[in-house]
């Protein structure tokens, strides 16, 4: 999310707040459109899997959610790191804004995984390396959020949860490579950088569209949450109010 933004110009909440406000509608529209096309492809264009029948269609929500859970954790840790390094409040706010959405996608990855595991493995849950490390990721998100709420001083809360987030980033490669490093019940990567895709083209396109949709959704939701956080922490900026409202307030006096 940071790429393409001139941070010398946009590193203050005052600049970031209206910028985020302008970007949110665009990302929301693109997210909804991509979700529509992705679901259509996933349910009406992609063929039935010859091994798993129709149960495989959970992939179009499971894999994008799982990717987002890991990706968002890394982005959160990067913002936390920038915050610690530069002692920059907006960076901590970005990290704070990412955590709940990341936790939600982690929960969804686990839940849809259970929904897929039951018909294919005969079990909702197994203590397999992939599943266990993903569950730990959920606890890490919970830890980052709980640590923040348990510390009253905002600056200390920022720094403590940032350190926690940074240390926990080691789990992300463990999740990603768990299917290679250990014998797991969880199937290996369906898409890999070295061997390409093992899926039918329409399946792959549907999955990538849903992933892109979740990205756009996450950007929109995180920008809107960071605006809330700025408003709560710094008191809502006056430029947020339309001149008419300010006049009304003045009249109410």
């Amino acid at each position: 999310m940071s790429t393409g933004i001139n941070w010398a110009k946009y590193s203050s909440p005052q600049a970031l707040y209206p910028l985020a406000g302008r970007l949110i509608p665009w990302f929301s529209v693109v997210a909804v459109a991509l979700m529509g096309v992705g679901l259509y492809m996933g349910f009406f264009v992609a063929p039935t899997d010859f091994q798993q029948g129709e149960s495989y269609r959970i992939i179009f929500v499971h894999v994008p959610a799982a990717w987002m859970s890991m990706f968002l954790y890394v982005v959160m840790a990067i913002w936390a790191g920038i915050g610690l390094g530069l002692n920059a409040r907006p960076s901590f706010m970005m990290a704070q804004a990412i955590a709940p959405t990341g936790a939600m996608f982690t929960f969804l990855a686990l839940l849809t995984g259970a929904m897929w595991g039951k018909p294919t493995w005969g079990a909702w849950w197994v203590w397999d390396a992939r599943l266990t490390s993903e569950l730990i990721l959920l606890f890490q998100y919970a830890g980052v959020m709980l640590l923040r709420t348990s510390i009253d001083d905002v600056r200390r809360a920022d720094r403590s949860s940032a350190v926690f987030a940074l240390v926990g980033v080691v789990n992300v490669p463990i999740i990603y490579f768990s299917v290679q490093w250990w014998n797991t019940l969880h199937q290996g990567a369906s898409v890999s950088m070295s061997t390409g895709s093992k899926m039918a083209a329409t399946m792959l396109i549907a999955m990538l569209l849903m992933t892109l949709a979740f990205w756009m959704y996450s950007i929109a939701i995180i920008l809107s949450r960071v605006r809330c956080i700025m408003a709560e922490r710094e008191s809502l900026p006056a430029w947020e109010e339309k001149p008419v409202t300010i006049q009304k307030i003045a009249e109410a006096r």
Binding site: F43, F44, V45, P47, T48, G53, E54, S55, R57, I58, V61, H62, A65, P100, T101, M104, F107, L108, L111, T112, M115, W116, K118, P119, Y217, I221, S224, R225, R227, C228, A231, E232, S235, L236, A238, E240, E241, T245, I246, I249, A250, A252, R253
Partner: protein
């Protein structure tokens, strides 16, 4: 397209309960997150307006 009828589509080859639970819960989570943020924003604005009003009253007295 591989669906002969709507009921066939909803049955998902016998995996309907698993497939639809996944999608419905995901949809509920996304919608809930959007609504929760909207409410949070409304609350933040209300608090800010109250603060503005309170502030002007303070200076008036």
């Amino acid at each position: 397209m591989q669906w002969g009828s709507a009921s066939e589509f909803f049955a998902m080859g016998g995996y309907g309960i698993y497939v639809w639970t996944s999608y419905v819960v995901t949809a509920l989570c996304l919608v809930w997150e959007v609504l929760a943020l909207w409410r949070r924003r409304v609350a933040a604005r209300a608090e800010h307006r109250a603060m503005l009003l309170g502030g002007t009253n303070e200076t008036a007295t």
